[in-house]
Symmetry: C2
Subunit: 886 residues, 2 copies
Amino acid sequence: MTQWVYAFGPSLSEGDANQRNLLGGKGANLAEMAKLGLPVPPGFTLSTEVCTYFYANGKSYPSELESQVDAALTRLEGDMGARFGDPENPLLVSVRSGARASMPGMMDTVLNLGLSDVTAEGLAKRSGDARFAYDSYRRFITMYSDVVLGVDHYLFEEQLENYKLEKGYYLDTELEADDWKHLVDVYKQIVREELDEDFPQDPKAQLWGAVGAVFGSWMNMRADVYRKLHNIPASWGTAVNIQAMVFGNMGDDCATGVAFTRDPSTGENVFYGEYLVNAQGEDVVAGIRTPQQISIAGKESQESDQPAMEEVMPEVYAQLDTIRGKLERHYADMQDIEFTVQGGKLFMLQTRNGKRTAQAALKIAVEMVEEGLITPEQAVMRVDPASLDQLLHPTLDPSAERQVLTKGLPASPGAASGILCFSSDAAVDLHARGEKIILARVETSPEDIQGMHAAEGILTARGGMTSHAAVVARGMGRPCVSGAGDIEISGDTMRIGRVEVKAGDLLTLDGSTGEVMQGEVPMIRPNLSGDFSKLMTWADDLRDMAVRTNAETPGDCETAVEFGAEGIGLCRTEHMFFDADRIGVVRQMILAESVAERQTALDKLLPMQRSDFEAIFKIMGARPVTIRLLDPPLHEFLPHQQSELEEVADLSGTAVEILASRAKKLTEANPMLGHRGCRLGITFPEIYAMQARAIFEAAASVQSVSGQAVQPEIMIPLVSMAGELDVLKRLVDQTAGDVEKDTGVAVAYSVGTMIELPRAALQAGQIAEHAAFFSFGTNDLTQTTYGLSRDDAGNFLGQYEKQGLIERDPFLSLDPDGVGELVKIATERGRATRADIKLGICGEHGGDPASIDFCQQVGLDYVSCSPFRVPIARLAAAQSALKARG
Amino acid sequence: MTQWVYAFGPSLSEGDANQRNLLGGKGANLAEMAKLGLPVPPGFTLSTEVCTYFYANGKSYPSELESQVDAALTRLEGDMGARFGDPENPLLVSVRSGARASMPGMMDTVLNLGLSDVTAEGLAKRSGDARFAYDSYRRFITMYSDVVLGVDHYLFEEQLENYKLEKGYYLDTELEADDWKHLVDVYKQIVREELDEDFPQDPKAQLWGAVGAVFGSWMNMRADVYRKLHNIPASWGTAVNIQAMVFGNMGDDCATGVAFTRDPSTGENVFYGEYLVNAQGEDVVAGIRTPQQISIAGKESQESDQPAMEEVMPEVYAQLDTIRGKLERHYADMQDIEFTVQGGKLFMLQTRNGKRTAQAALKIAVEMVEEGLITPEQAVMRVDPASLDQLLHPTLDPSAERQVLTKGLPASPGAASGILCFSSDAAVDLHARGEKIILARVETSPEDIQGMHAAEGILTARGGMTSHAAVVARGMGRPCVSGAGDIEISGDTMRIGRVEVKAGDLLTLDGSTGEVMQGEVPMIRPNLSGDFSKLMTWADDLRDMAVRTNAETPGDCETAVEFGAEGIGLCRTEHMFFDADRIGVVRQMILAESVAERQTALDKLLPMQRSDFEAIFKIMGARPVTIRLLDPPLHEFLPHQQSELEEVADLSGTAVEILASRAKKLTEANPMLGHRGCRLGITFPEIYAMQARAIFEAAASVQSVSGQAVQPEIMIPLVSMAGELDVLKRLVDQTAGDVEKDTGVAVAYSVGTMIELPRAALQAGQIAEHAAFFSFGTNDLTQTTYGLSRDDAGNFLGQYEKQGLIERDPFLSLDPDGVGELVKIATERGRATRADIKLGICGEHGGDPASIDFCQQVGLDYVSCSPFRVPIARLAAAQSALKARG
């Protein structure tokens, strides 16, 4: 005979936590808690197989079900010392759904089942609290009518409101026993009018009605939509849990509360919770009465004058504290528990892993390892890598007041305050005078780099999460709010609705929420405790992939090394070109008409680039440093103003008008797909030759001083065919040979390429013949694979997310289906040609945990990300490695 | 015993044309001609296996080789009645290389071998022409010394020049026998001085020296580079051909000539050729003497006063004419032959398929089918599809004088003359007044469409072969010269170097060469003779793929149908938006801030679009018409001038400043990757709904009048994920249902998508669930696969071609490795999901024969191209089908 019904409770527990598929999540957990010996209100579960049967057989039940339910009820009555429908001591139960996967709020629940005119009176007598009895009864009628009988609950609420109006009551708590009793009659009348029959008085009939309603709710529209969204098959079915009711509001020896086995905001190993005497669960959260602390320590730290549960119900508290230890040992994680005390007796209603702040997660994970509760592997899996962001940046004091002006996109985390500034030049000047700056721009361009560096935070009116401002700000670790569309900037004024903010006014940004606030809001500094470094050490031991950083300034390199970067995965040489004392020469180079003219400018740039690389090599020591040769379209460097043109005219001796016309010729329709990357190297080999020379001279000089070999990896960008790399590798090799002859120092280096175009991914087999490494430039690869400009996607990508066409911005999290397939193809073809080719990723995705997981699956050797994301990547890589091991 | 040596000639021919691998191309052909009974000067071939042996055995010969050569020499002496080294009657031979694949000019040749002091004297006596004998001897010494002995030929030329200077001679022909005899002594002295030994006098020693030099030349650097470039394995080796010399310059019973078996410029079936009495082959081409016609008919048509060969040597001519017929029957193709007459005896030196004009190719192919010489299949293979272009456009009269101002890119074929015009508006006005216009612009944009239509030809200063101007011009069949970089346009004047041309001046363009000419150059009109339509009918019977056209104006549709288009593969709806009476409304639509505002504009556009589609459906009848919904970034339509903004302000009742600021917001950094294609349909569904309604209403109306079902295929552009197509297909289906309800007419239609992004290709399996057809938009697919903007590629793609990095512009000929692999992937995945999915190509590549061949290999159902390329595509598709059948 099939077992359709499974008991749980002190006397018998037939299931356990592993039987989610059969008993649903709730049923399995209740059985598990009971097995642990916790005082769970007893009950029984109708398995998911009943549901399956129900739908496979025209909504009928298996023939054995009724007798199995009867038997379970009888045991339940025994356990509770109460009987269904007994006027003296009635058994009340809850009927709840519980599917394999959690579907919060999607299906229906009925509480207080078993109440009728007779048993309500009995409950009043037995509890000595008629108000409680009739309040419970009217709640039951409302719920049951709504869920089971299909009578809209607003009909009842309407009558309740009318009655309160009539009586001059404001709150429900003002209603007395007789008021509720009167309303019960009114409610029953409503049911009679709506359905033409009486509200059922037989508890068994009530029970079967509720069971049928829960099974029926499995297929309601809400549940159906939810399942589709979360990919839950309808065939799984739901279980139904029938559990004895317990009440925390039956007198002063009753109570109800919620607690965490450790402090969920700090992670401290203290028992943290709140309770209320003579109250229901909802009272604790409703805020009408102020909940009290459960422990004396908690009471003291909160400076509360209300007694702690430890004082009021010391035995129950002791029992709860014992359970706390048992739960942590059993689940090996911090638990969030709900309990009720009825007549001095403790009942555990629920336990589950508790939500916690990033800091608490870290502390709990590390301390549980030290307590021997979990392994370092488990600790590493317990902390959400993305949450580390909260620990690495200053944050707004949550208790501080704030005047939010508008909200943009949370483009780069952390908070910043400073005086408002509308141009990069002004930002640089004010910063030099010791001011803290918030730089606000319609959008930023590479020419704003200096200003962004000088600023504490960046605000833009246009651009998405991956706009120039967002990407650069994340790279620099500067908080940024981008795309705050309400903002209108004109001259030295910024208008947000009716508010006007001027240059020099104080402003605060929260890059983690996107909020823009007036004035200066107080902050909390990050605290990288010993726990942080312990967890990181475990993570480092576990991961397969190396973690590098995308950095080009000495400051960023130092930060990244501090954060544990094992090398540079992307050093963008173009960022070095925007220095005030260089840009003129760079422009001279770009606007040169002949190779000779260009060489003159390059000769001036060579020592500057060399000193850039010297500084980087000194900091990075023996770590590998991947340097990408000049990549962006030349016109990004072009002069826009007359004064800038005049500077170049002075430097080059060419007339301003000629320069202006040359500059105009460099304009491109689609610069992202234009004359950039290795195309510059092919057409102007002297530029790449200068950069290669600067690298090798710097390496030779640092190496001779330190005696330690540096590891430059020279990376050719935007390759789409093997021939490009072939030609440019020869140029680099030639330059390396020349420099070795000049300096007498041999530098061990390698040459590789970015794989950032679909064609490069497809041709990876051929390209690998010339490449010691591939670095996946997944920003550009995403742009070209989708045909989607990062700068322009903001106009419509939001709509796509709203309509559910995409789950996440593919510039933030690597698209595994399209971009990912190309990465896979390139990996396979590259390795087929050259088994030991080094493979990494240097796009923004290198700091995104889901993308890092993908990189692990594909088998990359390293990920590279902005300095502030290095710890995130280290942890995410460890988690991915653990997942891969299964 | 291995046979290393193979004889050819009247007495014995041991090889034939099929033995190219063994005997090389030349050796196999000589054997074939001899077998045919043609009077080939006899000789023998050392097979390629000798070469292989030579390199495999330290540059030594097989032991049997010498005796086999001796035997072959003996037979040759018998055939010629002359002996090697015989002072009375010396045998002279040529020694030439001949590999499996033709490697013109890559390896060495020695002529007149066998001459020595003794035999030169004998030759002088026997020929009665001492000048001939010593001239031949000095040529032999020069060649042999250079090729075999390694003495630089400039040493000999220097002495010749000195001697001529000394003697006051200007031409070589002024030198007499004694002069040459003297120089022979000087030459021998040079060899002695350079090598410290005498020039070899023994013919056999000469022979082995020459053979060794030819085999040695197989591995010289020139040949090596050539093989690498043409993918010829070194292991193939070369053969060596030793052939008796014959001379056309030994007296008046000698002659030499070249002839074609049919007229190579018209294709007429007449014997066409030239000859010279008492001359060498090089004299016919050198231009010192005017060659005479071989036939009397030729002489008459050329109005020559020189006698024809038919008159001077009637027997030889008759023999040649017989050979002409024999050759055509044998090779079944028009032959280009070289012959020599020595002492009244005809020798055939070479025959090969003759080069011909497009018109001749067509005529010859068709007539040979009618003569039963070849099959229609062969005829179809004989005509180069690309050459049809010459037949479809007017061309410049080749005999007309022309004053070329500059040269741009040959962007769209054909020639055009007209008065110069610098704006589209002016072009439209002047055209309306009956003027022929040449429209010159720095570059064109969609707003120039009307002007381009009004113009006879288009000239741009910027942009490549696939710039807007080039693509649109080819589509319209307008000649176009693009990217003429020397041109500077300012106001109503165009400057080309020092020349200034003004609006209103006459100008001529040749879009097939890129030439820009002053004044009006006379033209020749195209003549689509009956041959053309015969060949096309055969091609149509043979091809597997359908041929459609890219067209959206009634004019283009009519042209395309005339040229044999079987449907429209791409109707770009945006081109319909630029009409002067529409653009204002279009702008109103784009600048609308709300859906309601936008709908107002769309309601005005609906009847206009409907009438567009009605016109097209009427012309196309039952043929399928693929209509692409709005694709380009909206800002392409934006107003640029104040007056344009004011028009929109009038239409919409919105202030100019507001419109200007909205227009500014629409600017994009990379419009090609921006808010366009189906992204417009997702964000502004009302636009696509209007277009779909216009299509269905037009279809319903045309269908009700004609009683014939039209075949609209609605195409969604720029899809990158299945969800986009799913959403938009629903919108189209919904609209179709609405229109059916409104009109009562059911229209059979299908919905499909362009595959023009790498991600779409990879996701083709999922996308096919919603698509009845895929049309490969290989223009955009090339842009995104390479990360290469068509508009900007001109800045560097030329360099790539020069450096040999790419063979052909990937926008002109589909890149089979990258773009092609994506097409293959999409084809496979699309068919796996939906076996009957219709697959076509609508990028510019649809009219390129190499790309069409690729489409056949991949198994597409149709190609679509601009109207003027439809015949090319029909022929190319037939050839591809034949090749595929093997």
